[in-house]
């Protein structure tokens, strides 16, 4: 069976890869949006944190014998703690400065993290084995689905939805939204906004690290795995706007799928399509798909 001359197997395979990448885009842009909302900083280190997530997973396995399931829990936890420490000691120093300094500071942090992994582990990838329970695949009739890939898609959607739920539907979420909208007034109610800021930075980088662990078995563990990703995620954020959590999630998945489809129909443009899409959005809706006019 063909669609536009493309076998449906190949098409669905690329859509699946698109959904996986879209899941990573969504988780990362979600974290960026959360952090930007409260800290007014674009966390350039987000890609490096994703890389660090994958490395920590591998290190846990290599040195402590902690496998995939443990890593899924501990790697984001460890990195969230490091993030909290860095927010308290370094990042919080520049909240009063222009936004651009936040970008430059976190860019510097990204260089340090990635350079460190490069120096120690080199640029060639380190394989990370699939957990036994998720290896293999099932034949769905119209396509062959590797179980791990299906798992990543499901987990990404679950994680994104959970974060959305916490932010939009819980008391903690309403406090976070309040602190994002009007931090000074929120403090005047006796709400500890500085602690929320720290918490959100921890949550944001924890999410990025979680994505890194999910990615480790698919793409090898590589010091540069996050650095190109972050640029794509920036484009996603420009397209989606950072005002809405759902916007960040939907744009992430949408662009992942668009990228996957481009790989089927016109492979040379697959790396470019998101950027071209971004340019088109800037022409048609300068504030972004979900953004309000600044």
């Amino acid at each position: 069976m063909d669609i536009f001359g493309v076998p449906i197997q190949a098409l669905m395979g690329q859509v699946l890869i698109g959904l996986i990448n879209g899941g990573f885009y969504a988780i990362l842009s979600l974290g960026l949006a959360l952090i930007f909302g409260l800290l007014n900083i674009i966390n350039f280190a987000h890609g490096a944190v994703y890389t660090a997530g994958a490395f920590v997973a591998w290190l846990l396995l290599e040195h402590l014998g902690i496998g995939y399931w443990g890593a899924l829990l501990f790697a984001p936890g460890i990195i969230a703690l490091i993030g909290i420490f860095l927010e308290k000691t370094v990042v919080s120093q520049i909240y009063r400065q222009d936004h651009l300094y936040g970008l430059l500071l976190t860019y510097g942090m990204a260089l340090i993290i990635e350079g460190g992994f490069r120096q120690v582990y080199g640029v060639s990838g380190i394989p990370y084995n699939l957990p036994a329970a998720l290896s293999g695949g099932v034949n769905l009739g119209f396509m062959y689905l590797p179980i791990y890939r299906g798992w990543v898609v499901v987990v990404s959607i679950l994680v994104c939805f959970s974060v959305w739920y916490v932010i939009e539907r819980t008391k903690l979420g309403s406090t976070l939204r309040a602190a994002t909208e009007n931090p000074a007034l929120t403090k005047s109610f006796g709400i500890n906004v500085p602690r929320l800021i720290t918490l959100i930075y921890g949550l944001g980088v924890g999410l990025a690290a979680f994505a890194g662990v999910l990615a480790a078995p698919i793409y090898q563990v590589n010091p540069l795995m996050g650095s190109n990703l972050i640029i794509v995620v920036f484009a996603v954020v420009v397209i989606g706007g950072m005002g809405s959590i759902m916007g960040a999630i939907l744009s992430g998945f949408l662009l992942g799928i668009i990228e996957g489809l481009t790989k089927v129909f016109y492979p040379p443009a697959s790396h470019l399509v998101i950027f071209i899409f971004m340019a088109a959005i800037l022409l048609i809706r300068p504030a972004g798909l979900f953004g309000r006019k600044q």
Partner: protein
């Protein structure tokens, strides 16, 4: 960026301007004599970086726009000059003009898209668009892929000066650099430069005063892109290579670092930052990935402790010891 205007007021303007002229003459003399002490190639690298940082500084220092995609203009011009010299066999001066204009044109397109958003969005958009140029350079058949364009012939300037002689090339690069430096000083002190600063300090106010802010931003962006292109083209001629590292976003980060390190929004900052960075890079070359780590540390330190860069630091020291 409010922190950008850091120039300390000069106590006595006449004495200040005389001092400045003498200092300028001394620096030019120094630059002319420098190749007797330092490698011309190193000096030329510094000058190309300085030109690049100066072009970048026009945007961040005088308009308050942080472009994180300037490698696109630097690198594209490097490829174009390489192609023009190597494949088309054009004369150097023509190749340089074509490369510079191409980058300026590219800058017009990128700028036209990016000025639709402000602040960090602007930075993210320029970064994303520069990635398009990177992927084109990676995939296009003319660019040599991973190898880049190698053995670019230097040729003869105006058919007279043999640029394969590094000393000759050095003086040509120096002359171009100085011309651009003084042109930049003219630009930032012109009425056009005044408007740019007004936009930087308070954009809504500039709009309400009736300025077509977007036109000014776009013109500044185009100028900056063109000069970045000239810097990239010169670098390609000096090193006879145009490669992916010239268009990679790390190079965009490097020019930010040079400008920040030297002092954003100052005349000499980008020059000081560029030479410091070139020296640092040479020194760190044998240490592998330490380059990135050190770069990162310098970024963090600059942002945290000296946002006004080396030039600002020197100014503060000068003020403290009361020497004016």
């Amino acid at each position: 960026m409010n922190q950008a205007n850091l120039s300390t007021p000069v106590a006595n303007p006449r004495r200040g301007s005389l001092q400045r002229t003498l200092l300028t003459v001394a620096l030019i003399l120094l630059a002319c004599l420098a190749p007797t002490v330092l490698y011309p190639t190193f000096l030329m690298k510094g000058l190309c970086f300085a030109l690049f940082a100066m072009a970048f500084n026009l945007l961040i220092g005088y308009v308050g726009l942080l472009s994180f995609g300037h490698a696109a203009f630097f690198g594209a011009a490097a490829y174009i000059v390489g192609h023009a010299l190597k494949v088309w066999g054009l004369p150097v001066e023509l190749a340089l003009v074509i490369a510079t204009l191409s980058s300026a044109f590219l800058g017009t397109i990128v700028g036209w898209l990016a000025i639709r958003r402000q602040g960090i969005y602007f930075a993210m958009i320029t970064l994303a668009l520069s990635q398009v140029v990177y992927f084109v350079a990676l995939q296009a058949p003319q660019t040599g892929g991973e190898d880049g364009l190698q053995a670019i012939p230097r040729g003869y300037l105006f058919g007279l000066f043999d640029l394969s002689d590094s000393m000759v090339l050095y003086y040509v690069v120096l002359a171009i650099f100085l011309a651009c430096f003084f042109m930049m000083q003219r630009i930032v002190s012109s009425p056009f430069g005044e408007v740019l600063r007004a936009i930087r300090d308070n954009e809504p106010r500039a709009v309400s005063l009736g300025y077509q802010v977007d036109h000014y931003k776009l013109l500044a962006f185009t100028l900056s892109a063109g000069l970045s292109g000239l810097a990239g083209a010169l670098k390609a001629i000096v090193f006879q290579i145009a490669s992916l590292s010239d268009v990679h976003w790390h190079a965009s980060g490097e020019v930010v670092l040079m400008t920040l390190l030297g002092g954003i929004g100052t005349a000499m900052g980008p020059v000081v930052g560029a030479f410091t960075y070139a020296a640092l890079q040479n020194y760190l070359a044998p240490f592998g990935s330490w380059v990135f780590i050190i770069q990162g540390v310098v970024f963090v330190l600059c942002v945290l402790v000296f946002r006004d860069g080396i030039v600002g630091l020197l100014g503060r020291i000068r003020n403290r010891i009361g020497f004016n």
